[in-house]
């Protein structure tokens, strides 16, 4: 059971985001961290490989600047190795360009199962994983809340508006993991030390057989034409709770005629 997990390294979500003043793309310079959304896929992959009793977890990531610190976090959790596609030509890639790169890199790992988050925290287009599946000609199941492997079949409980669907697919397949459905393990000290020596295979766009024109700004079929401040919402009344703030809330709800 070999599992590839797509992992994105993103600017720290706790710091305010910035757009490049000329290209209007998100500034991704400086230190990047593993997207929290990906931790669930990493954990799920480790559990599935553990249950299968053989195989390994390979991380696949794309970053403009050779960043590996986010990958080390997932390697410390127990992933065996990583493939990092890092190239200046990748700057400004859109979801489709990103999917082309990830699909080409994933192909090299020949996985039985590919896991990804439902969407990234910084870009949140939510289309990249399915684009990867389509490029690889594989079935996909998005928004998994539970995953089980039964021989050469993957069985998934897929989140729906009303509850969940039981969905099955032959392997290999791509599955996206909903946040919160497993508890990502904390890396142990031993894991952190071991992660330093785990292989990270760094590739360029050319190594994947892709043209520079298919990725990055050049391959992105969309552009930002304008950025403007949104209409501000004003703050209203702020009260300190002195043990009677609930009365103020009741009065407000009354005034709005919702009670």
């Amino acid at each position: 059971m070999n599992v590839v997990v797509c992992v994105k390294q993103i600017p720290d979500p706790a710091t305010p985001g910035q757009l490049d003043p000329t290209t209007h793309t998100l500034v991704r310079e400086g230190k990047l961290v593993i997207d929290d959304s990906d931790m669930y896929g990493v954990e799920m992959a480790l559990q599935l490989v553990g249950t299968a009793g053989s195989g390994e977890v390979t991380l696949v990531s794309m970053a403009p600047n050779g960043e590996t610190s986010g990958l080390r976090t997932a390697l410390a959790m127990g992933a065996a190795k990583a493939i990092l596609v890092s190239d200046d030509a990748l700057k400004g890639s859109d979801a489709l360009g990103t999917a082309r790169v990830l699909a080409a890199a994933i192909k090299r790992a020949e996985p039985d199962l590919i896991l990804a988050a439902t969407e990234s925290t910084d870009g949140y287009t939510g289309t990249t994983p399915v684009q990867v599946a389509e490029l690889l000609g594989l079935p996909s199941i998005t928004f998994a809340k539970h995953i089980e492997i039964d021989g050469s079949t993957v069985k998934v409980q897929r989140q729906t508006e009303a509850g969940y669907d039981e969905v099955t697919s032959p392997l290999p397949a791509l599955v996206t993991v909903t946040a919160g459905v497993v508890e990502p393990r904390y890396p142990s000290f031993k894991g952190i030390m071991a992660a330093k020596n785990k292989p990270v295979d760094e590739l360029k766009v050319g190594d994947l057989g892709l043209e520079a024109s298919q990725v990055g700004q050049a391959g992105a079929g969309q552009q930002i034409t304008d950025v403007a401040a949104a209409e501000e919402r004003k703050a209203g009344e702020i009260v300190q709770d002195e043990g009677d703030a609930h009365e103020r809330i009741v009065a407000f709800l009354d005034q709005l005629k919702v009670i």
């Binding site: 999917a99 939510g126 490029l135 009303a162 669907d165 697919s169 304008d226």
Partner: protein, 322 residues
Amino acid sequence: MALNKVWVLAEAFEGKPLPIVLELLTEARSLGTTVEAVAWSPDIDAYAAELGNYGVTKVHNIDIGQSLPGAPVATAIAELVQAGDGPDALLVGMTYDGRDIAGRLSVKIDKPVLTNVVGFSDGASGPVSEHAIFGGSQIVKAEFTGGSPYIFVVRPKSFAAEPSGGGAPEVVNHNVSDPGVTFAAVIENRHVEAHEGPKLDEAAVVVSGGRGLGEAEKYSMIEELAKLLKAAPGASRAIVDAGWVPYSYQVGQTGKTVKPTVYIACGISGATQHMVGMKGAKNIIAINKDQEAPIFSIADLGVVGDVHKVLPKLIEALKARS
């Protein structure tokens, strides 16, 4: 520049068009001259009539069997595009299946997708889409640099739905010719979870809880308050990620967009991730013990206090009235 033909992905829920479908059809009428829909409904005649009421003149109905809709619906649309019968633009709601279809279609016809659209304006060659970023504090405008068909994935609640009172549309059934391995993801069983009260994205009142509740068990206060107010309970990403409540409760960028009459944020600091999903509420009440919390900058009534003290008293006061 007006488009000639605009298609809307008409996703159904329990045999009815999702609210986002009606919102998109309404907007499609101002974007294009002709509005058509793509559906995968077993009971297409009744369904098509509802779409006709919102201006649809033709429905492309696709037989998807037991497959998840993503691959077969995208395949059928791609076949129509390649046969020269495609649209100038396709509007897709940002739902579980909507993004699956948009993503697969994008690869099949080699066109990019613009996602998280919240509005449109006129551009030189096609529509310019608007996107709320950084918690909705800024609006980015974007356009495609290549030719049509343009694929837009639109956030729910971006447009108000209004019927136009059209008649029953023409229905064209499509069987997808070559079901490849991508069709092999099939639905074996559906589970409907018991649900009381209004739906999160349709409720007039939403009560949401966040990390400030301290522990998963305390979410019961949110549920109790929601019940008293006939409201839907919601959540911040932090407590969904922590596994306290299911993903379907999440309000925000990676969750649902809500625009209720009243939104009550309890123990939610107001990360940009959350605010983008609820700042369209008519009235916002926030309870948080940190008076520097960003949520207070958009609250109509902000209570600086401990949710563990304020909520029980609020619940008692509401019970006393009912």
